[in-house]
């Protein structure tokens, strides 16, 4: 029996190769088939592995390690294998990535139908799946890093998919460069791990930690902090979150798959995966918790005033990732992974629904120009409602359970945890508020689309019975519901966003506990159950208040938002400009770096040292050439004279060495005398 883990990433890679190499020449239908078939096959392999390896089925003991290509690196201290490992955490991630990933592939067929570079898009998307699956399957840090870098590459390629648009190309570059900072931390962490444990294998490091129960802090804190830097880059946390809002330049399904459901959760996954190290370093955990709570709050405040529907969702993603970090930081890893899962469902749904709205409005992303879409796009409206309810934490929707679990665990985690709990609570209010704001602005009220006036224009043309014009005008301008290839995934994800949390944190934590360790179970704590219920009621009340305020301000046309802005122009301007963080980074880091590159490195390094040494070498060669070219007289007899002189010199040497016993010609003489 074999689980064929290696097939899981390789199948999408084959899809990438086919579409990437031949896609330009293949018909669109075939490109779509290839793009869908391989992720579906990977999903099938994952399902098979899940059924065979499900705890209790008894066929395989988890973690199950599969070495599929022998040794990769074998150099002195460093031994790295091509091996994949399957355990409960990996299983959850695999199901999310292939399942949600496949749904988003289907959606993309409809969404990207009219785009140039259709084949290129799907090739990149399959490439992303390959790297993401490698990341979560990897049994050692180096292989995980390959996946880690690879998803960064795929993200870069897809953000810059419309590469002829400067803002998209810049956004791709920004994401790539900011991620490099995080990857630097990850690399340093790996070096420290290697020096400390002599191995990069997750299993071996876990064993080494288990053998040393007393080892705390010190080098482990250093390793954990380096890994946190990596996680902050990938998961868009303070201070490295700035790339994610710009990443919305990519096509919307990409935002759903890479920048909401899967890739950005890699940092959370990595922390949960290496929690053995974090558990030994309370300081590093505290750092994770504070970063998470701060990011959650900070991003939520920015989301309050954004008008671009995708940017609201981007900031809400950052904010939700902050929740997951908070969960990790209070050592409630399974709660964080639980939120990761429900977030994957509802955030993918929200992005796809937003994509459907944008598609229906022919590319309009500004919420102030939407409104009244409830009747025109009923399916999109209903599914989006499910997503909004899930993220806002309305009871029995998925997000309610997972967010509640994280907040409860934070509350139970000492003084720091308790204070961060309140930050989380305020964030929950903000989340509920900005999500319902998005909901009201998009689907309720009067239509503010410019297409309405176009419709009337079309009608007046019709009155003049110029049917040809009407036929031309209508199909491209009318607000329309999306095709079923887009609505189908929306419906499935809406169902998942609804029922996804019903498994409950207790059972989910139980399932993950062999990997992530046990969490505080309210049922087992003294007074835990009543505290849990109290906190739940508070959280629900907070969400309801957020909804109430959103309804008050945006439910119908109202002067109130304008009044608030007028009352607090400073705060509003701060939020609209996103705390001027981009400008701050630009002035403090980017500009000094470019100046230093241009003047210090450019003049001194490149100009003086590199170009100078090149000129010096060339000068020496020219000078020597000037000297020795005089030998090349072109005169045959002078050449032969040199030849004869050389032969004579050799002869003198030979005779002299024979006479005076010089050893350098012994060999020649011995050979001649044979």
């Amino acid at each position: 029996m074999n689980l064929y883990l290696w097939l899981i990433p390789v199948l999408p890679f084959v899809g990438f190769l086919i579409n990437g190499l031949l896609g330009r020449r293949l018909p669109k239908a075939l490109v779509s088939t290839v793009a869908l078939a391989f992720p579906l096959a990977a999903f099938g392999v994952v399902l098979r592995a899940a059924m065979l390896a499900w705890p209790g089925n008894g066929n395989f003991s988890l973690p199950y390690v599969e070495n599929f290509a022998g040794s990769w690196i074998n150099a002195g201290l460093l031994h790295v294998d091509f091996s994949f490992a399957l355990d409960q955490l990996t299983l959850v991630m695999l199901l999310i990535i292939t399942g949600v990933g496949f749904l988003i592939h289907i959606y993309s067929i409809g969404y990207m139908a009219h785009e140039e570079g259709y084949w290129r898009y799907f090739a990149y998307l399959n490439l992303f799946l390959f790297f993401m699956l490698t990341l979560v399957l990897a049994e050692n840090y180096l292989l995980m890093f390959v996946g880690w870098e690879g998803v960064g590459l795929a993200s870069y390629l897809l953000i810059g998919f419309y590469f002829d648009k400067k803002s998209a190309a810049d956004a791709g570059k920004k994401a790539f460069v900011v991620n490099r900072v995080g990857d630097f931390g990850f690399l340093l962490g790996m070096f420290l791990l290697l020096s400390q444990f002599g191995s990069l294998s997750l299993g071996k490091i876990g064993d080494a930690l288990a053998l040393n129960p007393g080892q705390h802090g010190g080098i482990l804190t250093a390793i954990a902090l380096c890994l946190v830097v990596g996680a902050c880059g990938k998961s868009a946390q303070i201070p490295l979150y700035i790339w994610l809002p710009d990443a919305m330049e990519g096509p919307t399904p990409v935002s759903a798959l890479i920048h909401a459901a899967t890739m950005v959760t890699a940092g959370v996954y990595m922390i949960a995966r290496t929690h053995g190290i974090f558990d030994r370093s309370p300081f590093a955990l505290a750092v994770v918790a504070i970063i998470g709570a701060a990011t959650a709050f900070f991003a939520a405040t920015i989301a309050l005033v954004q008008t671009d529907i995708k940017r609201v969702l981007a900031y809400s993603t950052i904010s939700q990732l902050g929740y997951m970090f908070l969960g990790c930081g209070v050592a409630a890893y399974s709660a964080a992974i639980f939120h990761l899962m429900t977030h994957a469902f509802f955030k993918a749904l929200l992005f796809l629904a937003a994509g459907s709205v944008i598609h229906g409005l022919n590319g309009e992303q500004n919420m102030l120009k939407m409104g009244g879409l409830r009747k025109k796009m009923p399916v999109t409206f209903l599914t989006m409602t499910m997503g909004v309810a899930a993220i806002a934490g309305i009871p029995i929707w998925a997000g309610f359970f997972s967010k509640d679990a994280i907040l409860y665990e934070a509350f139970q985690h000492g003084v720091l945890g308790r204070s961060l709990y309140f930050v989380g609570l305020v964030t929950a209010f903000l989340t509920s508020f900005y999500m319902f704001r998005l909901w009201y602005l998009t689907f309720f009220g009067e239509s503010r689309t410019s297409t309405t006036s176009l419709g009337e224009h079309g009608a007046s043309v019709h009155a003049r019975s110029d049917t040809r014009l009407v036929l031309e005008a209508e199909p491209s301008h009318a607000v329309h519901e999306s095709p079923w290839s887009m609505l189908g995934p929306l419906v499935i994800l809406a169902v998942l966003s609804f029922v996804g949390g019903w498994v409950g944190i207790e059972r989910f934590g139980q399932f993950l506990s062999p990997v992530t360790g046990p969490i505080i179970d309210p049922a087992l704590e003294p007074g835990g159950k009543s505290l849990d219920i109290t906190l739940t009621v508070v959280a629900v009340a907070i969400a309801a208040i957020g909804w109430f305020f959103a309804r008050l301000y945006y439910g119908r046309k109202s002067e109130r938002p304008g009044q608030i802005v007028a009352a607090m122009p400073g705060v509003y301007s701060l939020l609209v400009h996103k705390y001027w963080i981009d400008e701050l980074y630009s002035n403090i880091i980017v500009k000094p770096l470019t100046l230093a590159s241009r003047y210090v490195l450019g003049w001194l390094g490149e100009g003086a040292i590199i170009r100078g040494s090149a000129w010096l070498l060339a000068g020496i060669a020219t000078l020597l050439g000037e000297l020795v070219r005089r030998w090349q007289s072109g005169n045959l007899r002078s050449y032969s004279a040199w030849l004869a002189a050389g032969a004579a010199v050799l002869l003198v040497f030979a005779i002299a060495s024979a006479l005076f016993g010089l050893h350098s010609f012994d060999f020649a003489i011995a050979w001649a005398g044979r």
Partner: protein, 107 residues
């Protein structure tokens, strides 16, 4: 030539003759301007070498030297054929056989 007579002449004489011939060849090669004379000087040098090969073969009763002589002769014959062809080609192209004027390679 009878074996006894050959033995009467010491090997060193043959070697001296060979050295003399070789030196003549080198000098002719260096000072003569006519390409054909230069060419003949090369042949002279080759034959001087052949002579010393044969001498040493005789002296040490080794057959290797004599075999080498045949090699040299073959190479010399081939070289003569190619060399003369080149000389004819040069004469046709430049109308002279003066080596000082055949200096196309000069910078």
């Amino acid at each position: 030539m009878p074996q006894s007579l050959l033995n009467d002449v010491p090997s060193s004489w043959y070697l001296l003759l060979s050295a003399l011939l070789f030196t003549l060849g080198v000098v002719g090669f260096l000072i003569k301007r006519n390409l054909i004379t230069v060419f003949m000087s090369i042949e002279l040098m080759l034959n001087a070498v052949n002579l010393s090969f044969v001498t040493f073969a005789h002296e040490w009763h080794a057959v290797k030297g004599q075999i080498f002589v045949f090699f040299v002769m073959v190479v010399a014959a081939a070289e003569a054929a190619v060399g003369l062809a080149i000389i004819i080609a040069i004469f046709r192209a430049r109308n002279t056989l003066n080596v000082d004027q055949i200096d196309l390679m000069k910078l």
